[in-house]
Symmetry: C2
Subunit: 412 residues, 2 copies
């Protein structure tokens, strides 16, 4: 049984090294007498690498080699990954990927092509790095009707927020440190603007609720605007700010999907998820809340998830795993302005008394927050649950203050 | 396709109700056109119960009915569960159980009988209630060499300890409250003396390390001796006391398995696991630490895990799932006195100066702990890591103080 890897970067080289390191163990789990790496597709060369002789730059060698039964796609990006994966599936090869962009954009179609060709398309590593989440949702929680799923799905932003919370760094300082540590790219926008978390929650939403959710349909806010004053007010409220990606089933069959910073209460299991760690909370009708926690990125954790999928393919060469969902339909993803939630709001004013009076007139159940060393004219409060649409309408009526920050409050 | 349930108690009735409530969803996941409950075995009758007509008291009806393909065992206890499960497996029926006593005592043998008869014996619900753990370990973490597994596996003791920590209740008060809430039995010894947690860690150790571990081989300490002073010293140290069950692979191929109260640092993911919740930490070579958190007991969470196994059996009627381990061999479980760990020690003395001098002479790296309102003559300290054997020898040399409490300190 032969395996090929497409893309010999961080994750791809981790997969090669793990296949070698735990070889006996993996063979046993795969119920195979042999499993060997045959090709590594990459445009670069890797002189001195233990697998340098396996590196090829011609994709057709892989797709035309009938001995290659499992192809690992760790190239990232949509192109040419998409074309290559389609070609492999159509050639009857099982495909395992860690590429969340690919799954979020093309998952529904690729699962269908896999189905038509009697092979598996598996992507455990695309969400939560090495944390087991795709398989537990599709198998272990199969008896549940899942109502909601929410998580800290991006390690870079969680590292930045942790440094802001525990070390009092500004966003800019924490971002620089993340870049220095290799946790953030030079252009950090995919992480800090929430796009990476968005792709992952789209995959989880499809898996939990049965229909593809395209990232473009999801209201996504990043963490650039979070200030240390917000962090302090969250502390005064009894919690921390985390970038939360969530998907919820609505009673009418639609789903609400959202990525944004949020206040999390200190006693929540999500509040203690620090640094580059990820955690995913699944709320099912029978099980209640279940949380999965671990390293959401990194060479070996991600490779571990990829190889688990390779083992699953090897054990099920002639048998399909049960993952499938339908394409998105019009209006399936609800407008985020319909969401009802409590909000934290920070504002500055030259007339605090008038602003507070106006706010209390507009919003019901307002709780005022205070922090040490607040500059004069700063006010902060928490509203009762209200729809985003209504919130925006009411905020527009406040002439007595400038709204500086609006952050959602979760109930996890 | 017909299913039978043996034992119509809390979990068994949850299974019946879940099979009914999420029927369509379960059929789809099972890839079956029909799945129906045919018998419920119980000595009692259930007038007015929606399934009262299915209740039978004669086991032979189940074992002799070829239409029954999957049998759920939720009777608990070893007898007659063991005989019934053996008979079902030998009759070619898949068996799903939530019975940790059965799996801990007979798992190796039952897996072998299942294997010989080409059926599955699944037990996701036997550890961690509804938390997915058996399948993630055997499948999702399959690419890892697992080094260690540790968990809060008993909800009753975790509830009691939580009440002691957060509300300052004594052990006795918290136990009474647990009994009042239905979390503890009238005879609470299986929970508070650690036997329940012991059975679960035996199952996890077998799954992770490949050999059966019998509960009798495991040094097991419960929480009866934990006092509020210990809780206070743990707080002063920066942590909490939890009942931890753990299993670790040793370099020579043996395993160390232990159940005991332990100090857990506040920033650990295990520290914030409160009330009846459970959590399991798995440490793998590739993945690092992964934590699974959720409701470790209760009717519907446990039923959810049972039904997930039923679905797995239904999807794999002619195919075996990969779970198997060997029997235990002589000397496989290391003597707990070999364990090396740091310890917390509390003692009383009439001559504190002499006692402290003696302690500092005997132990290296001693850190003294203090608490408010400590009675005169009470001393508490933490040692550097030391083997349990050496610890006991040194403690025996301390004539200047009475040792009141010895608690292990973890590194999770």
């Amino acid at each position: 049984m032969y395996v090929a890897i497409m893309g010999y970067g961080v994750v791809g080289s981790g997969v090669a090294s793990l296949l070698n390191k735990n070889h006996e163990h993996i063979l046993k789990k795969s119920m195979q007498s042999e499993m060997e790496l045959k090709y590594i597709l990459d445009r670069r060369t890797f002189p001195g690498d233990p697998y340098e002789n396996l590196v090829i730059s011609d994709f057709s060698k892989i797709v035309e080699d009938d001995e290659v039964k499992i192809v690992v796609e760790t190239m990232g990006g949509l192109n040419p990954a998409y074309d290559y994966v389609v070609a492999c599936l159509k050639a009857g090869k099982h495909v395992v990927t860690s590429n969340k962009e690919l799954v979020a954009a093309k998952g529904c179609e690729l699962l269908q092509i896999a189905d038509e060709n009697n092979v598996n398309f598996l992507f455990e590593a695309s969400v939560g790095g090495g944390i087991p989440i795709i398989r537990p949702i599709s198998q272990c929680l199969a008896a549940n009707d899942i109502d909601e799923i929410a998580g800290i799905l991006n390690g870079t932003t969680n590292f930045i927020l942790t440094k802001m919370i525990t070390d009092g760094m500004t966003f800019e300082e924490a971002l620089l440190l993340a870049q220095k540590n290799g946790y953030a790219e030079r252009d950090p926008s995919a992480d800090v603007d929430g796009h990476d978390a968005c792709r992952k929650i789209c995959i989880l939403a499809a898996l939990c609720f049965g229909k593809h959710v395209y990232p473009d349909y999801v209201h996504t806010e990043g963490i650039r605007k979070i200030s240390l004053s917000d962090v302090e007010y969250a502390r005064a409220w009894g919690g921390v700010i985390k970038l939360i990606a969530k998907a919820k089933k609505l009673e009418d069959g639609r789903v609400s999907v959202l990525v944004s910073p949020a206040f999390i209460q200190n006693h929540s299991q999500l509040a203690s998820v620090d640094d580059v760690f990820n955690a995913i909370l699944v709320r099912g009708d029978a099980i209640g809340d279940v949380v999965f926690y671990g390293r959401g990125a990194g060479k070996m954790p991600t490779a571990s998830a990829v190889v688990a999928d390779v083992i699953d393919c090897a054990r099920n060469m002639n048998r399909k795993r049960f993952i499938a969902w339908q394409d998105c339909t019009d209006g399936y993803v609800a407008d985020y302005l319909e969401n009802v939630t409590a909000f934290y709001i920070r504002a500055t004013t030259e007339n605090a008394a008038a602003a507070v009076a106006k706010i209390n007139g507009l919003f019901s159940g307002v709780t005022t927050l205070a922090r040490q060393d607040a500059p004069e004219g700063e006010i902060a409060f928490v509203t009762a649950p209200i729809s985003e649409k209504e919130l925006n309408e009411k905020l527009a009526l406040i002439d007595e203050a400038n709204i500086e920050s609006v952050i959602r409050i979760t109930n996890y």
